[in-house]
């Protein structure tokens, strides 16, 4: 079975977010980039399923410029077999989805996995767009994924519960916890990753459907009002009479 895992390159979760002086772009200076944490579930689960099947391949795909290659190599070190980098900045979800759909179709993948969303743009859109472009089902967000032959059983999270869904390949799933325990690279993986194939391809399709005009940071808090622990009940009165939230 051929698995395609789409990964994005995002600022580390501890990053303090700042923007360029015109507020039009994220300020990358001094920021450590990591594999999007949600995508790690997709990657590890694909590797686990391939191992359980005893055959098949896991390909990682990233839409990004050359600076994303260290994280693509990391995905190879974790256990993917080969990689594709679509050589373009990921402009928006529509742009990225077109690249994934094109190269997924070209490679004839059975299962297309990705994280629920990226922790930078939080679009939660690419999965559905790829499924629609390819005319195949999308299960989002998936908390569990098992395969038996060409049939997948997934748990799809809905507000307040979950649905058990069965779909046949090919399909798209966007992954989240508790699907698996994401793996970290071991020394052998890091050594072998250096020589695994990483193909660089050019972008296809139309441009973006949306554009960011400006970024802004959330308004600063006024400062905390402290209530002595002995008078904890006073807090409840303040929440009712001053903050008016209860």
């Amino acid at each position: 079975m051929k698995f395609l895992v789409c990964i994005s390159n995002v600022p580390d979760t501890t990053t303090k977010i700042t923007f360029t002086p015109d507020n039009k772009e994220f300020n990358k200076a001094g920021v450590q980039f990591v594999i999007n944490p949600w995508d790690e579930y997709a990657l590890t689960r694909a590797i686990e399923l391939k191992e359980a099947q005893g055959s098949g391949t896991v390909t990682v795909l990233n839409v990004g410029e050359a600076d994303t290659e260290p994280n693509i190599r990391k995905a190879l070190a974790i256990g993917a077999d080969d990689a594709i980098r679509v050589n373009a900045a990921p402009k928006d979800a529509w742009f990225v989805a077109q690249q994934i759909a094109h190269y997924a179709k070209e490679g004839g993948y059975d299962v297309i996995l990705m994280g629920k969303e990226s922790i930078d743009y939080n679009g939660f859109q690419v999965h559905g767009m790829v499924g629609e472009l390819l005319g195949i089902p999308t299960v989002a967000p998936a908390m569990k994924l098992d395969m038996s032959g060409n049939t997948a059983t997934l748990e799809r999270e809905i507000e307040g519960g979950k649905e058990i869904v069965e779909v046949n390949t090919p399909f798209v799933a966007s992954c989240q916890q508790p699907m698996c325990e994401p793996r970290i690279p071991n020394m052998r993986g890091i050594m072998t990753a250096r020589t695994k194939p990483l193909k660089v391809v050019e972008p296809v399709g139309e441009g973006a459907a949306t554009a960011v005009a400006e970024y802004a940071l959330p308004p600063k808090k006024q400062g905390v009002k402290l209530i002595p622990a002995e008078q904890a009940g006073e807090l409840i009165k303040l929440l009712r009479n001053e903050a008016k939230v209860i």
């Binding site: 979760t13 303090k16 994220f26 944490p37 949600w38 979800a93 529509w94 922790i119 930078d120 939080n122 679009g123 859109q125 690419v126 999965h127 559905g128 767009m129 499924g131 629609e132 472009l133 089902p137 999308t138 299960v139 989002a140 799809r156 999270e157 507000e159 307040g160 979950k162 649905e163 058990i164 869904v165 779909v167 916890q177 508790p178 459907a209 949306t210 554009a211 960011v212 005009a213 970024y215 802004a216 940071l217 959330p218 808090k221 006024q222 905390v224 009002k225 209530i227 002595p228 622990a229 904890a232 009940g233 807090l235 409840i236 009165k237 303040l238 929440l239 903050a243 939230v245 209860i246």
Partner: protein, 325 residues
């Protein structure tokens, strides 16, 4: 050319987040000089759908196909696309829920629309171009996004828009069929398992949340969180370390890689306030932090704070809420 809003229903009731979506759509319609039509998904009743008039909806399209009671991505997408075509809708508004984002992203491709998710404000309309403010960087920032497509889809973040209540107005409920076939139900659930919610308040829908961290010392102490939540009518939540060690289920995990909440009131008990946790809660209107460590970083993001032992403070708070009556 009306504005189409997608309302999610559960057990016959329109979800609170969908009342907000309906209100959002009605205000956009007013700005465009047109009317707002809703299309209902999930388990709905005609009587409750008619009440969407209070949120400014003139007409509700309702397909009484029993298989639409549960979420099916393929069928919902086709139903909403058919409704959008019938109404010649240029703007579609839905909830930024798992359902809304799943359907919205497919619709964007099918209808060749510009899509913005996680939207927190009404759009600025300039001719055919909308600019919407949306949450980005997992709650650490906002982005103003320009939607220039002829059709636009907006997924509205919960608790960002006040639901309108114009008493006495009713919407006309019209039966509607999208001519769904079996193929549209390829991802129909074999089984639906709903969580057993303490007090029946779902975290994603809650406007008050009481959350616990490692400072609670163990799952056996969670009754203190639950008691306060019950007294307030709040949902319970937890930090990532707590769900990682299985003290609480993962669907209660709030933070950058869990769920993002934006309630009116968020009470954090024994949570230090790691940047990843703050990202998931910092759009809450009022944040209360209870921690015995006065240096806990969460106090910097809080509106009210108590430096003290959660095991002593929580029972006092619960008692005080009960005394309010």
């Amino acid at each position: 050319m009306s504005v189409l809003v997608v309302v999610e229903c559960d057990k016959g009731e329109v979800k609170k987040s969908s009342l907000e979506v309906a209100s959002y759509g009605a205000q956009v319609a007013q700005a465009l000089g047109t009317t707002a039509t809703a299309v209902a998904v999930g388990e709905a009743t005609e009587a409750n759908l008619a009440k969407l008039g209070e949120q400014g909806i003139s007409k509700v399209l309702f397909d009484n196909e029993p298989r639409l009671k549960d979420f099916v991505n393929g069928a919902y997408t086709k139903l909403i696309a058919a409704a959008a075509d019938k109404e010649q809708a240029k703007v579609i508004v839905l909830a930024n829920s798992n359902i809304g984002a799943s359907v919205g992203s497919r619709l964007a491709v099918r209808l060749k629309a510009s899509l913005a998710t996680n939207v927190v404000e009404l759009p600025k309309i300039d001719g055919g171009q909308f600019t919407v403010k949306r949450g980005a960087f997992s709650g650490k920032a906002f982005a103003d996004v320009v939607l220039s497509g002829e059709r636009k889809i907006i997924a509205v973040k919960k608790n960002s828009i006040e639901a309108l209540h114009n008493g006495g107005q009713t919407a006309q409920v019209e039966s509607f069929s999208a001519q769904l076939s079996d193929a549209d139900f390829a991802d129909a659930p074999k089984q639906v398992i709903m969580q057993d919610q303490a007090g029946g308040i779902l975290l994603p829908e809650a406007d008050k949340v009481v959350s616990g961290g490692r400072g609670m010392k163990g799952p056996e102490n969670w009754h203190l969180i639950e008691d306060l939540a019950k007294a307030l009518g709040a949902a319970t939540a937890c930090s990532k370390p707590v769900s990682d060690v299985d003290w609480r289920p993962h669907h209660e995990h709030v933070g950058q890689t869990g769920i993002t909440v934006s309630p009116n009131l968020y009470i954090a008990c024994g949570i230090s306030g790691a940047i990843q946790h703050l990202a998931g809660v910092n759009s809450s209107k009022v944040i209360v932090v209870i921690n015995k460590d006065p240096e806990a970083p969460f106090f910097k993001a809080a509106d009210y704070g108590i430096v003290g032992d959660v095991f002593e403070v929580l029972p006092k708070l619960t008692q005080a809420v009960k005394e309010l009556g």
